[in-house]
Symmetry: C2
Subunit: 188 residues, 2 copies
DNA sequence: ACCTGAACACCGTTCAAGT
DNA sequence: ACCTGAACACCGTTCAAGT
């Protein structure tokens, strides 16, 4: 909301960054349905067409939004593969739930989904703990699926008056633990 | 495609069922982006407003579509809880992947997501195998999350030239097995 | 070069008028 | 009662005209 108000100041020049700032504020406050080129432009005190000097089209704006949000995911760390997988999964989930209304954009089955793009770094981190390339891919693939589903469900249920966040966190932690224990038996 | 063509026959009266038939055909063939009230109406040889005599609004049409697709999910069966969980998860995934382009609608974090609605029947089936109510809910919650994430990822990757379906199936089966083995240790 | 108003081809839905 | 055309308030984007 603060960002939206700041966006109304008409002195600063238009830029991709300022456009993304406003787009993020609108989508966070009012949801993806409210995010239109015309709306972002009017928030910036200009016409829709002015945005096209800084962004090729709306899809590119959405991609930029997803990319910006996901830079907050911390690099996976830890010495054991389970620890690496856990910190990665937890960080991805926390980041996405920090932007509940953007979740469909972050997990969507369009384009090279950002979630899958991040998978490469997870695979690498897992390999550095001693896992084989095959095992690292296997673990990443399945953890990513569980995280994606959890984020969808959790974002949906916190929007309505679902269970408290603490309970969703606990369910996630238990599920991740179960998945990792089960995977351990499948490693070569 | 066949349904769309059949829809052009202008003799039959309009009905919710015929509208859903056409909507399903359009969305399956051309994706959810192509699905509009005006498009469905024109496919039926009438104007957009005629649809509103049988469907309150577009959201209700989408809900009807999701509901219709998900009736194909088989009732979970089996004597042990693992077998019940496996048949349910597999049936939900297969049904959703039979309608790849509808997946965002089926797993979306809006409204009482149909996936969660179906969860109640899974909980009941699990309880009938001897699981406690708490355990049945725990297993259902986590399996549903894994299934939702898997379907999102699988629908996205088969749309592009991703890995063959057989490999995605195997990844899913292994992941489900891992999840269930891990959950087994958490049961009371 | 960068910007932008008018215009085009769409949306979902309200409303009033038809049968 | 059921149906539906015109109209309203929106979309994203092209194109031509401005600076």
């Amino acid at each position: 909301m603060a960002a939206v108000t700041a966006g109304r100041t008409e002195t600063q020049p238009l830029s991709r960054d300022r456009i993304l700032d406003v787009a993020l504020a609108v989508a966070s406050d009012e949801g993806l349905e409210a995010l239109s080129m015309r709306r972002v432009a009017s928030e910036l005190g200009t016409g829709a067409m002015s945005l096209y000097n800084h962004v090729p089209d709306k899809q590119a704006l959405l991609d930029g939004l997803a990319e910006r949000v996901l830079t907050a995911v911390e690099a996976p760390s830890g010495s054991g593969w389970r620890e690496v997988a856990t910190t990665w999964a937890t960080s991805v989930r926390r980041t996405m739930l920090d932007h509940r209304r953007l979740v469909p954009l972050l997990v969507t089955p369009q384009r090279p989904a950002p979630l899958l793009a991040m998978a490469a770094s997870a695979v690498q981190a897992l390999e550095s703990t001693g896992l084989s390339a095959d095992d690292a891919r296997h673990v990443t693939r399945l953890v990513a699926r569980f995280v994606a589903g959890s984020v969808m469900v959790d974002a949906a249920s916190t929007r309505r008056g679902g269970p408290p966040r603490a309970q969703l966190d606990e369910t996630f932690d238990l599920g991740l633990e179960a998945m990792l224990s089960g995977l351990e038996a499948q490693l070569t």
